[in-house]
Amino acid sequence: MMEHAWLIPIFPLVTFLVLLLSGGRLRERGAFIGIICTLASFVLSLLVLIERFKEPTYNISIDWLSFGGTQLTAGFEINQLNALMLVVVSLVSLLVQIYSKGYMKGEVRFSIFYAYLGFFTFAMLGLVMAPNLLQLYIFWELVGVGSFLLIGFYFYKLEAKAAAKKAFIMTRIGDVGLLIGIILLFWETGSFEYGEIFQAVQSGMISSEKLTLIAILIFIGAVGKSGQFPLHTWLPDAMEGPTPVSALIHAATMVAAGVYLVAAMFPLFMASFAAMQIVAITGGITAIFAASIAIVQKDVKRVLAYSTISQLGFMMLALGTSGYVAGVFHLMTHAFFKALLFLAAGSVIHAIHTQDMEKMGGLWRKLKWTGPMFLTGTLAISGFPLLSGFFSKDEILMAAWENGSYILFGLAVVTSFLTAFYMFRLFFMMFAGDSRSQVEQVKESPFTMLIPMLALALLAVIGGYIQTPWFGTFLGEWLVEGNEALLGASHSEGPVWIMLLAVLVSLAGIYLAYRIYAKKKLPRQWLVKENSEVYRILENKYYIDEIYHFTAGYAIKGFSIFLSYIERFIVGGLVSTVTSSIEGLGKIGSKLQTGQVQQYGMIAFLGLAVLLVIFAVTGGI
């Protein structure tokens, strides 16, 4: 089955091509094509995953280019991480596409939407299967294009257009780092292949300073794609896209690519202590930073966006503290519950047509299905015991503790408290209390939207049981199988009190949110006063956007003005000189063409005469 794995990304590509070429004539029937193709991908991925349990890594490649002594290959590889990612990506994509059939109903560019979804899925699947960095980079950029198209899907909205551009440009900054990193790696090792690179790293072919530099550059790429501090600002803005797209971007495709990259290049990072430190610190800072912003945001999707950033920070933190298994595990569980949260939030938005949670409330009774499912997702992300998020977060905390990064461990604990708090703040404001909505008739969403949510809710509950301290660490053992030396332990052992602390912290967060937002026992200003300095800073997301605007924005603007002057006066002057001189020449030429035959004859004869005279004078020499 694994030799046919190359078909997995092909199916969504077929969707894209068919829907694009049909030019929107299929309308809502386009959804079936998308769903069926993605279903085929998913089934195939599942089969591949099952086969990968028994068989070793499958790797096939063909020669693509050869120059000098270097061979560039193209192909695909199925290792544990790839197989897992394939299933997660295709599953989430499938569910999102089913969901979109209901959510996007009535949209004029319906089939285009599915075409983009297909393209996006194709890019991500291709990225995951890439056996070498060059191929990965190609698909990496394609993922960027896909996100650009989808975030800017409502391109007639000014914000959506700006958000799409922002996402594209911000991630591009990261991509430059990645590209330089890849080039440096090629420079050092002469290969793009993962295997050869890791061998070179292990054999100490690359000096440690270079290794650190390369790892950091590659990490910059991951920072851009995964929305880590300080390149995170595009991610909340990306909420301008349709909600299913947010689910896809946040759960499976775009942002997962960054984490996947770090995970795939993990042996490289392991070789450099400094790089690992940077990954871990960036992750930790991002986690708490985004969580603190999420506390005061009022837009449902923005809260979820910041929570995504925060959770991605968690993953980076895990990877940076040698918790390879923990990071990948959290990536998987997060894919499930974050997709669920987004789909449920989309369902709420679909029902009451607002994203402002101040205008929600009391929806628990009205949305009989969406409510419990949102609650499931919220519990899972908050690390409520026995749900998937609990196990994966636990694994991360353990990894951080075991690694001896106590400060980061503290950050992670605080963040999980904040996570529980803001997620339940969101939940209570949406579902508890009295209705503040203007919409009288709140209708539950159609089945096409509920079924994917149901599937995800199920996964969000049980997804964690493949790696628990009690029932065995199946996932971890499988993931590091054959690569123990490279990837580290299959499971992080830590003192028992860590788990208890995690539970306590998460319950404390939930309780606090309950007191403030559900029971209203505590005033809402209890934590931070409204209009206080802290509140304002949080409300404005630490003014990061503004800082960029005033530093990078103005610097670039100034530079562009400078360049535009060069363009206008130097380049333009040159061009206009050339044009005007040629124009002048042409004018002279056209003046010469008087239409006077005799003049022509005279000039021709003058020439002849001059030649003859010269001939006579020189005697024909």
């Binding site: 056209s590 003046k591 063409q593 008087t594 239409g595 006077q596 035959v597 005799q598 004859g601 005279m602 004869f605």
Partner: protein
Amino acid sequence: MTGVPLSAYLVLALVLFCIGLYGALTKRNAVIVLISIELMLNAANINLVAFSKFGVTPSITGQVFSLFTITIAAAEAAVGLAILMSLYRNRKTVNVDEMEIMKN
């Protein structure tokens, strides 16, 4: 007996040719321009006939060729005048200076 040397004929032809050339390039009336061209052809004819008698290998061929030239010149004059007529009907002028629609 000292006859007229070859160069005398050639100089005569040269002079006639130059006169014809000058007329062809300066006269404003298209008919005169045509006539001047005939004059130039005639000058060339003199050369042909002169070489036919005083050339390196004298033969009758030169005269035959001058006959051809005369034929061509007559045809040319006829065609040229025909063109001139139709031009005159269209533009009401035979002034060469005014026949300049292809300028610029």
